[in-house]
Symmetry: C2
Subunit: 362 residues, 2 copies
């Protein structure tokens, strides 16, 4: 079992990572006998895990209710979130209740925001079940929902009391979702930790086979890296921006093809390669390193180019609309070496276009 | 001009109280030339003040947009709040925007929660326009909306960057709303400040005539008292509970007659008298003080009895459902003298019934 403590003053909390955690009610501490809790999940995960969890928590004398939301990013909004409040009020949950989010980033973000807002704040426990939510969404305290006019526009910074990562959950995850999570994993290596990147090169096959010891280390290292960044920088600013490597390109792709056609992680994979090419053209990144990145992404079954029907010029208007644009100047995260990245503004748009074109024609 | 600083660590902010504040753009600091802002108000207030404020802020080079919500407690909900987000996104407001709440507690609570949640938190300025919101709702950082199953069930603790109280606004306020605010004013005197209570006895006529110097002092004293309580106790617990004097009875009245038939302040006025009678029966409060309270409330045009068609037994079931009930034990705030109150549990329900009956038959 791996245990990380996220230290944010009085809001410190543990992230526990291991196979089999969902078999033990002790994993759900600080929940204890006599407590009330509301489990929030979606239809897909309910079919797989709900019955087992209810039985487990009932046995531990936790008064557990549940609410099942529809599955999908398109349901991450205020009106579906309101179903959580309705369930809480129907079952007379008070301030002392605990919300448990069982699911990927969609359920985690929405349940976290509901916990931040219900009676102005109740406890919440994260049980992330996708690789992406285990290494990214469940760490850092960002919670929220989408507005029809923009993703993640409404939310709160709110910390869980505990994050429970059971690597066994990944066995039911669709392979494409696993790969999408790996894009973020590889991203951590590129921006922060060359040793970890090398470890990924050595262990990628074991990861794809979901070897539980390897998986545990992999997730732990990602959480540690994200925690380090977040502790430095709880309310978003500079260091945290490094986590956006590849994301400016990725948002352009996601918006262009329509959300849901490319998974976020898939777009991030292509975006990382575009960022690497941009750095290369600027003379700040070595082509051998670009090749290492491409090879690792390919082995993880991730795309290493943008959509074929999207030409380089098409990226720019989307990029200009990004939240990260400061005074019309796109802010890029660029790799300088495996394990090191920097935020850059004022990059000539022609260089970006050239980078995308070089990649697409490669 | 009266200025109070609310000190909550890095979130300190000023409350400024004076006649004529809305005539000067300097009142809206920290807003400055070049800033974006979104003014949130309702139809009633828009008709009275919107044009003047837009002109003022435009002149000061603030890029000001606005959104007008329907007027009424029944619109204080997530879906009406979503109109604020839509307006912000339609006008491309980013994280650096400022929301301005122009209105009573309904607009203030809803705008505050929108500010807490938009892109996980933007600045907000309170311009409370009812007496109740000037002395109560705009101080303390509670923001939120109602759920159809419960009042103020969804929200955040979130502090404004500035509270602007222009006593001139009260001139357009319906007299019943002014009286409702006075119930909370008188409440502060009873629970915390006997001198202030006496000052109110001496100045009530000037208050009803909206004498601006008297009004300024009155509001300032209430804000100071609430600030003192809130600074001690930012996230609700004991001292803050004293502010609920009369409210347990009031909630029973409001629920029984249906929200909107009695104004909150009117129900609080009757509730305060019921609490005083309860204390009297327990031998802890002098009847001369009850009489002083009744006389002052009457002069403020407030009710000093509950609804005639609501008998004493009818209060209890509502009281048992109150958030403040701990293990089936109603928690009462009881006055012990003018200027001093205490939280009490374990009070015999028959005493409460007797208190209400004595009052209703008096
Ligand atoms: N809060 C943050 O810091 C943060 C960071 C990154 C992403 N996000 C958010 O996370 C969301 C994406 O998260 P995601 O990739 O986990 O998507 P997701 O929550 O939609 O999950 C992907 C799919 O996998 C299914 N699934 C989840 N776990 C499963 C399991 N163990 N077995 C079988 N199926 C399973 C889900 O039902 C869903 O259909 C986005 O809304 C994004 O905005 C948040
Ligand atoms: N956040 C807190 O700590 C706190 C404390 C107390 C009450 N509240 C909330 O405040 C709300 C009640 O506030 P309220 O009493 O101000 O009610 P309100 O906001 O509904 O205003 C009362 C009426 O007066 C009108 N009005 C407001 N200012 C006016 C003016 N200057 N001229 C003419 N008309 C004017 C409004 O349009 C409305 O019709 C409730 O929702 C309550 O939950 C919050
Ligand atoms: Zn991402
Ligand atoms: Zn009140």
């Amino acid at each position: 079992m791996e245990k990380i403590t996220v230290s944010l003053g009085y809001r410190s909390y543990p992230i526990t990572i291991s196979a089999g955690l969902l078999k033990y009610s002790a994993s759900f501490l600080p929940l204890k006998s006599g407590d009330n809790a509301m489990l929030v999940t979606n239809q897909t995960l309910a079919a797989l895990y709900l019955h087992k969890l209810l039985t487990l928590l009932n046995k531990a004398d936790v008064k557990i209710d549940y609410v099942i939301l529809p599955d999908g990013e398109q349901y991450k909004n205020l009106s579906v979130m309101n179903q959580i409040f309705t369930a809480l009020l129907q079952k007379s949950h008070g301030r002392e209740t605990t919300l448990i989010a069982l699911g990927g980033g969609v359920i985690g973000d929405m349940t976290g925001f509901a916990a931040a807002s219900y009676q102005r704040g109740v406890r919440f426990i994260q049980v992330p079940t996708t690789l992406l939510s285990q290494v990214d969404a469940s760490v850092g305290g960002k919670t929220g929902v989408n507005h029809e006019m923009g993703k993640n526009m409404i939310g709160a910074f709110y910390q869980p009391v505990s994050v429970i990562i059971d690597t066994d959950c990944l066995s039911t995850l669709p392979p494409r979702e696993l790969a999408a999570g790996l894009a973020e994993v590889i991203k951590y290596g590129i921006i922060l930790d060359s040793e970890f990147f090398q470890w990924l090169e050595e262990h990628l096959d074991a990861i794809l086979a979901l070897d539980s010891k390897v998986m545990r280390f992999c997730i732990r290292r990602c959480c540690e890296l994200k925690v380090k960044v977040v502790e430095h920088d709880e309310c978003e600013s500079n260091i945290r921006t490094l986590l956006n490597l590849g994301h400016t390109f990725a948002h352009a792709i996601e918006t262009h093809v329509g959300y849901g056609n490319w998974l976020h992680g898939e777009a991030v994979a292509a975006g990382i390669v575009m960022a690497a090419y941009t750095s290369e053209i600027l003379g700040e990144f070595m082509s051998v390193d670009t090749i290492r990145i491409i090879n690792l992404l390919k082995r993880a079954h991730l795309p290493v180019r943008g959509p074929t029907n999207m030409n380089a010029e098409a990226y720019l208007p989307y990029m200009m609309r990004d939240k990260k644009v400061v005074k019309g100047n796109i802010r890029f995260v660029l790799p300088l070496a495996i394990g090191r990245a920097e935020i850059r503004t004022g990059i000539d748009q022609n260089i970006v276009i050239k980078a995308i074109n070089t990649l697409q024609n490669s």
